[in-house]
């Protein structure tokens, strides 16, 4: 990976300074008519990161990606790549390549010519192009299919050609727009693994746009959640899942039980929250103090334990354990886990996800059985609504 394309050599005077991010997005905004698609996004991305932009459709993530690629020019803000503002540069002037959602393979060109397309434009020597194309084709495991046309390939193969074509110019930054959306579930899971392994091996910086939170969790080293044109939270996957910043993020990423709080009472390092649906709940004090607005207690289903009689006292700190009595109202068997919906005596509903660790159903619960759902104060978080 020592030979550089002419285009990237031109940018060599702006060598990355230690500590400076590869990409810095500063207050970028884009308005279509009266619709503010991207509304003041600021974000730093370091070299070698696998960053995911996650959000529901229409949240502005694709517009942001298209501004990075150069297909849209931001109305406000700067986009710095290695310290140079590229916000108004045309797509072909940027050392950035993109993999399109529908792959956008050139139908009149063979696999080989599709991969070589960008290299020819860069003015590479014929022999070097041949070597690079062979290398790329081998990288995405498409040997033997070089002469085929895109319409003679399967969906998965097309996806690989698109990847090879985008990687061939060795961009500083690779943008992937919903790269796996068109693949079926099994193939998607395999490809996720391959993409991660490829990114690690090449040491390249990837930015992926997806609406699939599982995909973002699996692949990305950091995730930026977008909502209505703004970045709602930027965090590593674990933090995003375990410490979401708002109720909206908690609901968007994974399943969650939410209880609206009515009163709060400080008790040392803990808070006692009064809820209408689940009574009083003891929770750990949040890192940022709660404001005056509404708030709720949130707990992930897999952190809710079920038992027949009561909490299994592990450390003897029973006083701090939240205990909710109820009956099983619904059972959803998912193979690896079973999700139980428990109708609480206090009126609310709580979901508990239980791992099916035994093959036989000796410890399964049945409908209308009385159970106790319990969890510790550290298992739940308090979120502003």
């Amino acid at each position: 990976m020592t030979d550089e394309l002419p285009r990237t050599e031109a940018a060599a005077d702006a060598l990355p300074v230690a500590g400076q991010p590869l990409l810095r997005i500063e207050g970028v905004a884009k308005t279509f008519g009266t619709f503010r698609a991207v509304d003041g996004v600021s974000l730093d991305i370091k070299a070698g990161e696998f960053f995911a932009l996650l959000g529901p459709s229409g949240c502005g993530k694709t517009t942001l990606l298209r501004m990075l690629a150069g297909f849209e020019a931001p109305d406000e803000g700067r986009i710095l790549l290695d310290g140079k503002d590229i916000a108004q540069a045309l797509p072909h002037e940027r050392p950035i390549n993109m993999m399109f959602q529908n792959y956008a393979l050139f139908p009149h060109l063979s696999v080989r010519d599709n991969v070589a397309f960008g290299l020819k434009r860069a003015g590479m020597a014929r022999a070097d192009i041949a070597t690079r194309v062979d290398e790329m084709v081998a990288l995405v495991k498409l040997e033997g299919l070089e002469k085929r046309k895109p319409d003679q390939l399967s969906g998965g193969q097309r996806q690989r050609v698109a990847l090879a074509r985008a990687l061939a110019r060795r961009p500083k930054l690779l943008l992937l727009d919903e790269p796996l959306a068109a693949l079926d579930k099994k193939l998607r899971e395999n490809t996720q693994g391959e993409l991660m392994e490829l990114q690690r091996r090449l040491g390249m910086t990837f930015i992926i746009v997806t609406h699939d939170q599982e995909e973002a969790m699996t692949m990305a080293s950091r995730i930026g959640v977008m909502k209505a044109g703004k970045l709602a939270q930027v965090a590593i996957p674990r933090e995003l899942y375990e410490a979401p910043r708002s109720r909206w993020i908690a609901e968007f990423v994974g399943d969650i039980n939410l209880f609206d709080g009515e009163s709060k009472l400080r008790d040392g390092h803990r808070l006692v929250i009064g809820t209408r649906d689940a009574g009083a709940l003891v929770v750990a004090e949040p890192r940022e103090p709660l404001g005056a607005g509404k708030f709720s207690v949130a707990i992930r289903p897999e952190k809710v334990k079920l038992s027949r009689r009561g909490p299994v006292s592990e450390a003897g700190r029973e006083t701090a354990i939240n205990r909710l009595d109820g009956v099983i109202a619904d059972i959803c068997y998912l193979g690896g886990t079973t999700t139980y919906k428990v109708k609480l005596d206090t009126g609310g509903m709580v979901q508990a996800s239980v791992a099916n660790s035994a093959r036989l159903d000796v410890d399964a619960y049945s409908l209308n059985q009385h159970v106790v759902a319990w969890f510790t104060p550290d298992d739940c978080v308090v979120l502003p609504s």
Binding site: A69, P91, A104, F106, L109, G118, R121
Partner: protein, 270 residues
């Protein structure tokens, strides 16, 4: 495929009737062009006599040559202008008066030919232009350009915009992206548009008779004026030749478009 070949009696009958309706008159014309008799409606045995006479009829040959030249040049100019108009309309996102421009471009499609012909005649007279080959060519370009634009624009509309974006992403400036990706993909539509313009020009009588001048009659004008004096079997011969020419052009064009879609490398000027 088996199922398709097994047609019901009703289908066979309707197919035969339909084809007969379209092609029986032409078939009769072709057969009578080989008639030995001087009378058009009486069969007098096989002969190539009228073809021989046709080649000695200098006025007719000149008219045919004139028509061919007008058709080739007007189709070429119309294809160039029509393609540019289609690209401007489907790629130039939102310039002022876009709707008005596209409406005006397609007006000749529905305009009666008499009106087009008359208005062009008035224009040429006002400009004091000498009427002949060039005036007919310009008039035919006006007529056929919108047909080319329609054909090319529909192809451009079905083309994925992200293909051009991908080309730009891979280092092409917008013009280069158009030449390297868009042009090869719309080439079949451009060829089809040219063919359409060529045949429209070749058989146009109304506009040509308004815009042509003395001594430069096109084939349809020549045939029409001859027929008014009574149909000579020679007319059958020239019509048969025109039909043969058009058939050959259509076969070549469809072969070419098939070839370009099966091996696209040749179509890509990289």
């Amino acid at each position: 495929m088996r199922k398709v070949s097994r047609l019901s009696r009703f289908n066979i009958a309707s197919l035969a009737l339909g084809l007969a309706f379209l092609y029986l008159p032409i078939l009769i014309l072709v057969i009578y062009s080989f008639n030995a008799s001087r009378l058009v409606t009486v069969w007098g045995g096989w002969s190539l006599r009228w073809y021989r006479e046709l080649f000695n009829d200098r006025a007719m040959i000149e008219a045919a040559w004139m028509s061919l030249r007008v058709a080739v040049s007007s189709a070429t100019i119309a294809t160039l202008l029509g393609t540019l108009a289609a690209v401007a309309l489907s790629r130039g996102e939102s310039f002022r008066g876009r709707t008005l421009f596209s409406g005006m471009l397609y007006a000749p499609l529905v305009m009666p030919e008499v009106i087009t012909g008359l208005s062009l005649l008035l224009l040429f007279v006002a400009l004091n232009a000498e009427r002949g080959f060039w005036t007919v060519t310009i008039a035919h370009t006006t007529l056929t350009m919108c047909f080319v634009a329609v054909v090319v624009q529909s192809r451009l509309g079905s083309l994925d915009r992200s293909l051009e974006e991908a080309a730009m992403d891979l280092g092409c400036n917008p013009a280069r992206a158009f030449v390297a990706v868009t042009l090869p993909l719309i080439a079949p539509a451009i060829v089809a548009g040219w063919m359409l313009a060529f045949t429209l020009s070749l058989d146009d009588l109304v506009i040509a008779s308004f815009t042509t001048g003395p001594g430069s009659a096109t084939l349809p004008i020549r045939i029409y004026s001859e027929v008014r004096l009574g149909v000579k079997p020679e007319i059958n011969a020239i019509c048969t030749l025109v039909i043969a020419l058009i058939a050959v052009v259509i076969v070549i064009a469809s072969l070419a478009s098939k070839l370009s879609s099966s091996q696209g490398e040749s179509a890509a000027p990289l």
